[in-house]
Structures are given as C-alpha cells and as structure tokens.
Amino acid sequence: MTPYNKKLSVSTSPFLKAEDTTPEIMMTVVYTLVPVVLVALYYFGLGALLVILTAVFSCLFTEWLFNKPGQRYATLKDGSALITGLLLALTLPPGFPLWMVFIGGFVAIALGKVMWGGLGQNIFNPALLGRAFLQAAFPTAITTWSPPDGRYFSLRGTNGALPFFQGTNVDAVTSATPLARMKFDHLPTDSLDLLLGATGGSLGETCALLLLLAGVFLLLKKIIDWRIPLAILLTVVVFSGIVHLVNPEIYPSPVFMVLSGGLLLGAVYMATDLVTSPITPKGTWIFGIGIGVLVVLIRLWGGLPEGVMYAILLMNAATPLLNKFTRIRTYGYTN
C-alpha cells in the first residue's frame, strides 16, 4: 500500500527553503546594471559597447578556462563572472584599448577570484583588482578620457589599438573628469550634469541618478547591506562637508564629492560586494566609514584625483580582521 517504502531517500531537515538562490541574487544585480550600461552606450556609443563586451567576454572566458575540464561551464551559471565583467567595464574609460580590457578581465578573474579558490573565497573585489592592475600597468591609457560627445557609431581612436600599443587619442584633450578639474584647477562641475551623467569619466561613473536608483532597489530587495552605502555616503558628506566649510575656495562641496567620480558606483556595487565586505553588522559600519574617510583623504590630499578604488581595496584587505574582531555577541553571553 505504501509507495514511499520503495525508495525513500533519507536526507535531513529542514525541508523548507527560502526562495532566493545565489544565481538569482547575482542575476538581479546584473539586471540593475542594464540601465547603467544603456546610459553608458547613450553617452559613449560604440566604444562603450566594445569595452563592455570585451570585459564580459574576457571574464567569462577566464572563468571557463580555469574550471576543470568536464565542468567548464559549471560556475559560469552562478553569474558572478558576468557581474565582474560588467563592473570592470564600468570603471574603464570609453576609449580604452580593447586588448587592455581583455587583460583586465583576465587578471580580475584569475588573480581576483580563481587564485583564492573561487566564488566566495577571495578577499578583494575582483573587478577592482582588475582595474587596479590596469591602472598600474597602463597609467596613461586609463586616465585618458573622451568626452560624452554622442558619436555613437564611430570608434574612439584608441579602442582598436593593437596589442602592446596605446593608440593615439585624438579627442581627449578637453575632457578631464570633473574630479580632475576640481583637483588640479579647482573648477567645479554643475550638479545637474553630474546627476544625469553628461560629464567625462569612466563608463559607469557618469549618471549618478541611475546609480542612486539602482542602489535603492538593491537595498529594498535586501541584496546589498544598507549599512555600507549609508556609512560611506554619510562619512563622505560629513567629512568633506567640514573641510568644505573650513575653506570653500579650495575644497569641493559634499554634493560634488558624492555625485562625482566612482563614489556611487563604488558605494552601491563594489563596496557592497557580499564576498569582500564584512558579515557582522558592526564590521560593516566600520568598513563603510573606513571607505568614506579614505576616499576623502585620497581625493583631497592624495596624489590622485580619485580614490574610491583604493579605498575599497584597502578596506577589503581589512575585512577578515573586521570579521574576526567584531564578533556578534551570542545570545545569553555578556559580550
């Protein structure tokens, strides 16, 4: 009478499971990046498209390459390499030579993730690690910005540079990023332009408004920890606000600090990377505040116009320690 006596596999409870799965979480992040990508295409045209496609291809290819034969595609499905590719592309200038993009993607996955043991094991955000490598290897190319000039279908001069060449950039002269203009010439940029993204910069550094919206969406979906972007933004606003009050001539306003450069991209997508941010609530606060402080320090007094990348990588490095020292108090214990 009992069909269940025949073959009853004996796994253990629980038998209920929350619906979210890791690939779904990753894909949600990817979906929120679609509008950001579209804006990049709108401002930078074909060059942006090529950079994005190359970065994504490179990351997926590298992931595939390092998987065991027989299960080459296994980890491609979790979506994390796709995110790394997209994020890496968004940190690059639109005219960046594609062969360099490819190397960046390779480094991001190989040194940023595979080397640590794969998804979840790495200490540094892979996309940022790839970008840091590119910055070190190709300092000129990565700070050569093209203006968002609406040339959709023509290639940027440097995209097609042959491997080991940089290409000559014919149109970048006038388009330093808002941060560079501020830092070196003390020229502010209109806040509205910053919000909408009509400024020079990396692909994803331009449209602050979209990034804010994406951030809110991810917060509501509970995919990213609200404490991290909040801590970063508050810290930047307060810290740079004080400095701005002291000397508004030299130091930019907090609004500018938040809207310009990679801060929002970093605060929403990079610092909140689940893997490389602390897991304890207290650690998360320290992590966010740390990034905020470092960003302001580097931007205002460091040698570089932008510091989001290094700020996040530095705090990534501190994450294992933060996890260790900000233990959550167990129920029933006094500390």
């Binding site: 009478m1 009992t2 069909p3 269940y4 006596n5 009853l8 596999s9 004996v10 796994s11 253990t12 409870s13 629980p14 038998f15 209920l16 499971k17 929350a18 979210d20 799965t21 890791t22 690939p23 779904e24 979480i25 979790d78 994390s80 794969g118 998804l119 979840g120 094991q121 920890d225 689940l274 893997v275 941010s277 897991i279 304890t280 996890n323 233990r327 959550i328 108090r329 167990t330 129920y331 029933g332 214990y333 006094t334």
Partner: protein, 453 residues
Amino acid sequence: MATSTYNGKTFTFKHGVHPEEFKDLSSHCAIQRMPFVEEYILPLGQHIGAPSTPLVTKGQKVARGQKIASPAGFVSVALHAPVDGEVSGIGLFANPSGQMVPGIKIRTDPYSTQKMAAVPVDLESLDNKGFINAVQEAGIVGLGGAAFPSHVKLAIPEDKKCDYIMLNGCECEPFLTADHRVMVEHPEEIIDGILILNKFIKARKAFIGIEVNKPDAIAALQKLAATSRFPVEVIQLAVKYPQGAEKMMITAILGKEVPHGKLPLDLGVLVANVGTVKAIADYFRLGQPLIERIVTVTGTAVKNPANILVPLGTPMKDVIAWSGGVTGDAARILLGGPMMGAVQKTLDTPVVKGTSGILILGNDLVKDITEYNCIRCGRCVEACPLYLNPSMMGLLAKKGRWEEMLDYHVLDCFECASCSYVCPSGIPLVQSFRVAKGILREKAAKEKTAGQS
C-alpha cells in the same frame, strides 16, 4: 488585570525567519479519536532519561491505564497500557530514531473500551513531593516534542523561585496544528492545569504565549483567563520561526535573555507546553495517565490532513491509513515539523510520547538543492535567533576544523535550521553543525574518561 503592559500588543524576539506555514491544511480539523488497532508497541524509553523498568510479563492481561513499567530513577517516568489486552511480547522493536530498543507489545482485547479503572488523584492530600511523584507516576513528559520528564522541571530546588509559569502555545513549526487544536478545544483543561501547577509552584503569574496566526486559540484562552482566580495573561506573539523555542519565547515575553549555561528557572520562569499542562489536568481531574496524545497528520502528500487523538504505541502506518492514506507522490516521512523533524525510513514504528506530528511531504517540497560556495551574504547571520555566525561555522565545518567551531559557540546552536532555510547558496549549515556537535561531544566524553583513568 486591568493594567498590563502586554495588552493587545504583539511581541517577538530578534532575527528568525518566515517559512511558509502550511497550517491551513489541518488547523480547522477538529480532533478525532482514533479507534483501537490490533497491536501496540510501547518502547520503554519514550522520554529523555533512563528507560522505564517493565512490570509485566509475556501473556499477562493488562487494562487500559494500567502501569506496565515504572520509572528507573528520578529522570525517568512510568509507562501505561493504552488499551485492554494481553502482553504479547517483550523485546526489541524499532523506534522512531531507527534503533532497536526494548519495548512492550500489547495485543488488543477486541472488547476493549475507552473506560479506565482510574480514579482522580486527591490534590488536597498531596504535598510538594507527593505532587512531583504523582506527575512522574502519570508518565507525563513535555509533549512539545522534547519528551523531557515534566516532574523534573517541577521539582524546583530550594534556592530557586519560580515567578512565572509560561505556557508555550506558539507551535511555530510549519504544518503542525496539534497544540492549536488543544487550545481551541480544551482551554478549560489548560487553565485548570495552570491552577493545579500553581497550587505547588506558587508563582506570581502565568503567561500563555501564542502566535497571532491562531486567533481562535487566543480568544478561547483570553476569555477564560479573564475570569481566572489566578492571574493568567495571554500574550500575542509574532508569527516567526522559531518563536516556540523556549529561549525565544522567554525573550519575547520578558525582554531578557536566558544566560549561557543557565536555565529558565534562573530567570524565575517555568516553561511548559500547552498540551503537557492539559495532560497534567487530565491526570489530576480524571485519573488518566499519559496514554494518548494528539498527533497532526499532515503534509502535501497526505490525502486528508487531520489532528488525531492517538493511543500511544499505535503504529504510524495505521494512523496514516486511518486518516485516509497518502497520495502517490509521497517523498519523505518526517516526525515533527519540516524545519526540525526527523526523517523516517519506515512507518512501522509507533507513535510515542514525543510524536507531535507525522508529516508526509510530496515531491513538491523535496527538491534537489544545488550547492554553491558561501557568498557571505550574511543572511544566515541575520536569521540566527542565537546570534551565531553560521557562515563562519559552515566554512570551518567544511574543512573539518571542529575545534575552532567551539570558539564560535557551535555548542549553543539548538539546530533550529533557520540558517539553512535562508542560505541562497544551499549550504547544509545546520546539517553540518549537527555533525560537528556530535564529534565535539564525543571528543569531550573521551577526554573525560581518559582523564579519569
């Protein structure tokens, strides 16, 4: 009782999860009494502690309610025959945890009736010690699932004082509705049980904690509490898993944590399941020892979900068959709820004192879960009601670094499975903590014996 800080508000603990409830399947089903079957198997160790000592021999006639085994020591209880009949065997039988354990088999007398030779116990003649003894002789254990002998909890040491009697009517496990039905159909017995307990415990007040998904139970008990001679307050608790864990309920109601290594009694609290208190009332009012219990038979592969009053020792397959059987889709049998229940290989084992539900899940709920690496999303941390770090413990468990898990208080984990429930990477967290705890305990025991020799 005009002023109370609790009035109308809903309380809860921090963290926890919200699994789908599935209670609608059986929450409206009135308790049905199951008729006698041909044979009963009564394991001697249905409770935590030493198995009872048999008092009968093969071939002996026994009567319903007759004591057939007596407590073997203080942490042990008596066992009674659930039917009139004849002892047809004393030997080893499979118990629900899959081992062969000593037990008594009774062949039912076809003319057995519900009648019992029992007489109510005269409460007035009992002193504290006599009361505790009576509860032990009645075979009463915690009916919430733990099956811990009730009289042991009631034996309050001289230096401790119980201020609050706290009744657990949360029933936070999905699917289960046995306690719910007891509260709806037997509220008088529950209040009576509180009064009986308090005659000896002399607490200041009693609380009954009920999740707000049981409004009929709340209403029924509130009505009686309003006119009770002793202050009884029904507390509405949020629907959240594991609200029914003893610690979580205490924290929700008193706003205090049970300190590590201490008992609820150290906070002046005595916790008992509503069904247990009803069993105590039944014994002192009717003289009926613990010979039957309410079992929820439910699941997505059960034809007619039901709440059934089952004589202890009834083979589970008979209970299921009587309820209407299973659908062809049955994939897993569980004792208890889907979060903490124990998987069964067969249904030949009997219903025992700790059987709160028989759950038969269909393939809809038994899915293959793909496991991914931990992405440190922290969802398990936000879920753990004890503020443990399941992510970290999971990583350590995977590498077999058991000792380090001690640092993360793995031994405090009470295996509620909230962490495994939320993990998007499908990591068997609680499953690995069970293994770790087993290994660590074994190690500790070995070291202890090595130290002694």
